[in-house]
Amino acid sequence: MAALLFVAIQLNAQNVVIRNATVLTVTQGTLENTDVLITGGVISEIGSGLRAPRGTEEVDGTDKFLMPGIIDAHSHIALSSINEGSSPVTAEVSMEDVVNPYHIGIYRALAGGVTTSHTMHGSANVIGGQNETIKHRWGTTDPDDVRFRGAPRTIKFALGENPTRNHGRRASNASGAIVPATRMGVEQVLRAHFENGQRYMTAWDAYNAEAATNPRAVPPVYNDRLEVMADILRGEILVHCHSYRADEILMLTRVLGDYGVHNITFQHANEAFKVAPELAEFGAHASVFADWWSYKFEVYYSTAYNAAILTRNGVVTSVNSDSGELNRHLYHEAAKSQRYGNLSDTEALSLVTINPAIQLGIQDRVGSIEIGKDGDVVLFDSHPLSVYAIPELTFVDGVKYFDRFEDPDDVRLQISPSASIGAYEGQITGRDRVHDHTEVVNFFDLFSDIDFDIDSDNR
């Protein structure tokens, strides 16, 4: 019965050949009138007149444009909770645990040609939780089936107004303000936790060494928060840091430099253009908006040339959505950065494909159309950087998960058996309230009986 009601689940990688399309490989130029064959979920051949194995799905790409599946480096879709806002540091929590494959945001993203999202902890804390990279395999209800297997671990940091407001500026009566209340405090929280992480790592390394010869060696107290700090220090976790101002961006590069951490992508980073050479020298990456700012004080000094300036300075740069609405037109966002900053087509497309892939450590698997890479591709009706472009078919691992011509009104996997019909009319989908989606446990709702004023929308 379930199968009749809902979109058929297609988890097994399939074979598909897209013929005679203009193929925007991103890393190997543009190929006219070219076939792309995907077998077993992986791109196996690129060329013309390709012979496809029996049973391969044929797609006519004539006069159409095939590009790699778009990668959104900053997203909060498909999660049951976003912010564990109770503590300035919650490194141990992980979005891996709260992936929600029922979330309609996955299908909406597919409709915008997005095949992979970096689903992140919010910015309430200086060191928030670990993030999860997912593939948009819509139709499954098992969280394990949407994971991007093999993607490196990443973690969310946050600087500036959000963590200082959430922790340092709370009503000073019952709930009590704590460090950090200022940008100085943010730096000290970071340093203190790196320091503790280092001590923790040293203590466990010493124990492990001693335990080899001494059966009476006593293991140090287990602390999952510091385990994660130690893993960052070991280089096993990529840092993605919510940031806006140039001074705090430089501050974090110094802190990380002091602790030998070099895997850093600055998220939002509206003032990154001011320190682009410094970022390039440090090897830092940036993931920015094309032209979105002025939603709070620290985000007024911004420019639509940000992505272009960073790119020209050699910083690996992506354009992200941070939104369940904006992610449906990331190709437009890339085009805006091109329009302002005179980027080439390939540079502009890289902002939403290979560059976010590099920032997430998955560039060997996705982000371009190359033999051996995953069969994550999107077919557009016109050039994706055109303002008229519409994604028609979206494939993940060679499986078609979105087809504009077979797109029923209601593809939800989960429908409240009790809510009034009217409740759906007000379902929030826009960029501004995406964090407040009804299916998400809003941490700050948990404070409803405690009087302090807080903005739950921690962008």
Binding site: L5, P88, D97, V221, D409, D410, S416, V441, D449
Partner: protein, 485 residues
């Protein structure tokens, strides 16, 4: 066979006669001394000429059951009724084993709302990041047994439905406490307790305003407690072996209780409210390794295969989602029509035909609710042996859920098994509960018809042999009483 049993009956009558002479004296003295209650005249009851459902699929169409001092003495077509028995005419009555609720808060008085801020509480600063265990809702060591109150309204409400035994746990949040098996009778807390399993209950209820508030933090906290408890056990073992030169290992009740989970003295009864919580709990189990009973599983129609393959006991919720308001006003025929008119592939632009879109949404909602209602039938079809739980719901809603589950294809035998034999198996009580067999505890529910049928009423409930007559005037109290809404 009959030869043997009649011989042994003579012996047992003699033996019980002697025993009751010996035991009656102090008992009646005590009753006169300590309570105004009238002493029970006889501890022997015979229900004669009743339909007896000994266990699912094992029915005596007309038989007699005799129990004495809380133990079933005999059950069969022809059974001699002891001279000292209270006789209940079982004509038109059906006798079942008492029902078992595998997780509940029954008999535990609800605490005053912790969210209410009393005077003086305002000044008390809370450390949000590092709250006390109590404040964080982490009290797995909290033993329910001293909290049991046989006069709590929930005891009678549950018993009136036919329940005789429950697993019950303190009210709380993420780790509310250590549960116990309890009888729905007894004069005080101690008398209710059935010695046996005392599982730790875990649920995804975050602490209000402090760590851990969200599901992800609760999972992290569970891992942290588990792993640190594991370390402490190892250190303690070294210390027990030879404390020379060692600092005294740390101890607290929370980590101590997790130690019992780690060495599998205690199972974890995890309450899950949706399919995602089922997945999350199973990943915690596979990561850490502990004995698990999954309870609740509302929305678990999406996890049937995974749960069937898992190494975990299962107790499904008796809670069915409310009908949407619009459907309450629509007759069944019309609802069927709405369902029949459903078009999976509809593509109606909202601005063109709002009505068509609304009808389709209504049909999808009906289908969605049907999946919740058919969940137990799906688990039964998959061969999963499951019990039931009323955790997180009100007793008055049990009856309508039971009826809906049967209507959605769960066989009456599977339903009864979930309430009796499967529940007893799950809790390790099969030796003395779950069926009406000689030697087992006299936990019975006596009805005027099929337990799960439309108009059936519960007439008597016997808990450990104690009789409770269910007032028929109330009517709404039987397992098939009036629906609340």
């Amino acid at each position: 066979m009959s030869h043997l049993s009649s011989a042994s009956r003579v012996n047992s009558v003699l033996l019980f006669g002697l025993l009751s002479i010996v035991m009656l004296v102090p008992r009646s003295v005590q009753a006169q001394k300590n309570s105004p209650d009238i002493p029970v005249v006889s501890n022997v009851v015979a229900i004669q000429g009743a339909r007896i459902v000994q266990a699912p699929g094992r029915v005596i169409e007309s038989g007699t059951i005799v129990f004495r001092d809380g133990v079933i003495e005999s059950v069969g077509r022809r059974v001699d009724i002891p001279y000292d028995a209270q006789i209940i005419d079982g004509d038109s009555l059906t006798v079942y084993a008492g029902l078992i609720d595998v997780l509940s808060n029954v008999a535990v008085p609800a605490p005053a709302s912790p969210t209410q801020r009393g005077p003086g509480q305002q000044q008390q600063a809370t450390n949000r990041a590092f709250p006390t265990f109590e404040r964080a809702g982490i009290t797995p060591e909290k033993d329910v047994r001293p909290l049991l109150d046989p006069s709590d309204k929930s005891v009678e409400a549950h018993r009136n439905l036919g329940f005789t035994t429950v697993v019950t746990v303190p009210h709380g949040r993420m780790l509310p406490g250590t549960a116990s098996i309890a009888l729905l009778s007894g004069s005080d807390a101690a008398a209710m307790v059935v010695q046996g399993e005392q599982p730790v209950v875990f649920e995804y209820q975050g602490a209000r305003g402090v760590y851990p508030g969200t599901p992800m933090a609760m999972m992290s906290k569970f891992r942290q407690l588990f792993r640190e408890a594991d370390r402490r056990m190892k250190v303690q073992a070294m210390y027990d072996d030879d404390p020379t030169g060692m600092t005294l290992p740390p101890y607290d009740a929370v980590h101590g209780t997790f130690g019992s989970i780690i060495n599998r003295d205690k199972r974890v009864f995890a309450f899950t409210r949706d399919a995602l919580e089922v997945h999350r709990t199973l990943s915690l189990q596979s990561e850490l390794g502990f004995d698990l009973v999954l309870t609740g599983l509302s929305g678990g129609f999406d996890t049937v295969d995974k749960v069937a393959a898992a190494d975990a006991g299962v107790a499904l919720t008796l809670n069915v989602p409310d009908k949407p308001e619009w459907a309450a006003e629509v007759g069944k025929d019309s609802l069927d029509q709405i369902l029949a008119a459903f078009d999976e592939e509809t593509r109606t632009a909202t601005f063109r035909d709002v009505e068509a879109e609304r009808r389709n949404l209504e049909a999808k909602q009906l289908q969605s609710r049907a999946r919740y209602v058919s969940m137990p039938a799906q688990y039964a079809d998959a061969g999963v042996s499951f019990a039931f739980t009323s955790y997180g719901m009100e007793a008055k809603d049990v009856t309508s859920s039971v009826r809906e589950y049967v209507g959605a294809g769960l066989s009456r035998d599977d339903m009864l098994a979930a309430f009796t034999t499967h529940a007893a198996d799950l809790l390790g009580l099969s030796g003395f509960m779950g069926s009406l067999d000689e030697g087992k505890m006299a936990n019975l529910v006596v009805t005027n018809g099929d337990l799960f049928a439309e108009k059936t009423k519960v007439r008597y409930v016997f808990v450990d042999g104690s009789k409770y007559e269910i007032a028929s005037a109330k009517g709404g109290n039987g397992p098939n009483g009036r629906r609340g809404r």
